[in-house]
Symmetry: C2
């Protein structure tokens, strides 16, 4: 088996599976040996050069090696961007005006339904490519702009196809419960029936998703409806996830605990009881500070409260055309640090191993440790504080996916 | 004289000198002819191809051409970054603790004084290079970490030297009145004397700066002291600028109007009278929303109030190691839009022609118009809304400085 070795690094910065949340290991002067796409050894460079003299060398260009970012909450399968909505929101237009002008989830649904599989593959491909450019090597990606059996399946197949074309791991989530589609507005029970009796079984049968997510929110899916959907999903082997307590403290966090969701996401309005419940049930809070920033809202999720309660957080971009249009996870760490007072080490932990936990991939992803995938982002920074500190910049110098150089600048 | 032509563009997006603030001209299908570093013609591509068949072609790669960003407020000459301070602030440490650990302006002063001209050139060179990478072709740059005759002169000479090495316009500002240095803490009048009687005359004599800036703030320079300094600067031909009303409503805006400053910057706490006074005296407000963001403060400068009063704003990064560490002007437009409700067209105007006005270079910079410098940033975006909308990303495809391609991605 051919070996590769990343040499000439400043060193590595990584969370470790055996260390607590927020603690980063910093090792100077080490190199990384890769075999069959996995990390085989991390040790002082001169030792490894003696031990594996024939390994193919990859030049670390004096960068620091970090685990590739894991982005555990994205919505990349859509037909149209919504920049007009961005402008109208800034101008203070009402939700109704924005919807009339083509904004909102339901307009995205109308557009996606009219767009072919091939077109969606093309659009999604370039969007996902940009995650790699900014150092992200794994994304969770949701359907949710189809909202019919056919269009949800189409969206998930797009993700599967794009994953086969690009050197990035895409972990798919079924989000048929993103909204009630137009044609079911007056008979929501029938849509929930469709979700439970047709869509979930079909998604599970075709193995198109790992998770089932629900947008639990006032005027979208109630806690009771969400519970119904998620329990059905579990029966079919899909692990629950929730959009919870984003706009109102509806008890989404408590529901996430009850159904043993892997994560509850957003949580701007989470209650103290919700935090406790999640802690007890080991549900990972996925925080999306980019969304709060992008929407210009004053209140961020109470990250410090969660951390103080012993809940290790994860960070994500929430990449989507309506409420957070970025692929830059470094900037998400900056927003987390400056607006939520998350410490830089905590933010980096949350964007790698924390994020991997939120998609149940922490055994194989999210840290530079022997046996894990060699998903490595080399950042041209003098130290790890720079990632959130030098904000809005892309520090990526090289990205390796399973040991192969896939981005080089 | 050899001609160049930027062809294969989607078109151009630009403010125009004869149009009001916030109005962008969008022309599809045009090309740009450059002669001797200046724009000679902008017209439909097929016309120009006939008219100038021998012009050397530059491929626009189907991008939109924008004026290069003008960043009218930066502090790039310093010895050490201050990422530890960033972390300590997030942890809630006091100003005293931060200063003791090496934070704050005065620590930057101590470090700069120990750093040689050559080292500072090297450090500043790479920092300024990054502005270009993100589409900025002109920066205003301040001294202000020297605070002695020798070290302020050294800083300004560093700027002059770096400007000779890089294809970027650097407009220098003398900011000897950035702080009272340690050795003058107990005799501030003596420092003001030094500023007025030695530093300003010397800076003017060596033609090392165009502007003289003062940090007018509680516990730094009072309104009265600032006025004294700026009037002296004017006598020596240096145009006044102010750091005004950032932390407290001290009347810095009114002072800017009184001394006919070209700009007053920050203005988070500006009074209504201050806005009126600036409007009447034609002082440009330079807003620095990145600083508010980076420091995690809740209140941004009242941009909408200023615009409503008929004051055309400018935007800048405030690039510096303590309170805003970014060179990305696109992100500054995103922060302006999402946090200050500045419209995308206004933000782009403020980051180009508005910014050029704030440094008195609007006759030659800040828009794509015949006769102006051919400082052109090609952004790979479908429309101009994308620059703030697709936030935290670098859309630059090519940058031309005076018609020469200086960045290519």
């Amino acid at each position: 088996m051919s070996l590769k070795m990343v040499v000439n690094l400043q060193g590595i910065v990584t969370p470790r599976s055996d260390r607590p949340f927020g603690e980063l290991e910093v090792r100077e002067g080490v190199a990384i040996v890769v075999e069959a796409g996995k990390i085989k050894a991390i040790a002082p460079e001169e030792e490894l050069l003696k031990q594996f003299p024939d390994a193919e060398r990859i030049d670390g260009e004096k960068c620091w090696a970090f685990p590739g970012f894991v982005d555990p909450h994205t919505h990349p399968v859509f037909a149209k961007t919504r920049e007009e909505e961005f402008e109208m929101r800034i101008e203070g237009r009402s939700y109704e005006e924005i919807a009339a002008a083509g904004g909102g989830i339901r307009n995205s649904v109308r557009a996606l339904r009219k767009t072919s599989f091939d077109e969606l593959v093309e659009l999604t491909y370039w969007r996902v490519r940009e995650f790699l450019d900014y150092g992200t090597t794994t994304i969770e990606a949701k359907s949710g702009y189809g909202l019919s059996l056919e269009d949800e399946i189409k969206s998930l197949r797009v993700l599967k196809h794009v994953a086969s074309l690009l050197p990035i791991t895409i972990v798919p989530t079924f989000l048929g419960a993103h909204e009630i589609p137009d044609e079911y507005r007056s008979r929501r029970e029938a849509y929930i029936d469709l979700l439970i009796k047709e869509m979930i079984p079909r998604v599970a049968e075709e193995k198109l998703a790992v998770f089932c997510d629900v947008f639990t929110e006032k005027d979208v899916f109630s806690v009771k409806e969400s519970e119904q959907i998620l329990i059905a999903a579990k029966d079919y082997g899909l692990i629950p996830k929730l959009h919870a307590d984003e706009l109102s403290p509806l008890g989404g966090a408590e529901l996430a605990a009850r159904v043993r969701a892997i994560s509850a996401d957003h949580l701007v309005q989470i209650s103290d009881q919700g935090i406790l419940a999640m802690k007890e049930a080991d549900v990972i809070p996925v925080l999306l500070p980019g969304t709060t920033f992008f929407l210009g809202k004053p209140q961020y999720a109470p990250a410090r409260k969660m951390i103080a309660a012993g809940l290790p957080i994860a960070l994500a971009t929430d990449y989507n055309p309506g409420s957070s249009f970025t692929q830059n996870m470094s900037l998400i760490t900056s927003i987390a640090c400056t607006q939520m007072k998350v410490r830089p080490a905590e933010a980096l932990w949350a964007a790698t191993l924390g994020a991997a936990r939120a998609i149940a991939r922490d055994k194989e992803l999210g840290s530079l440790e022997v046996g894990k995938k060699a998903d490595i982002a080399l950042h041209r920074v003098p130290n790890y504080l720079y990632i959130p500190y030098h904000y809005g910049m892309n520090h990526v110098c090289k990205v390796l996916k399973e040991g192969r150089v896939v981005v080089e600048k």
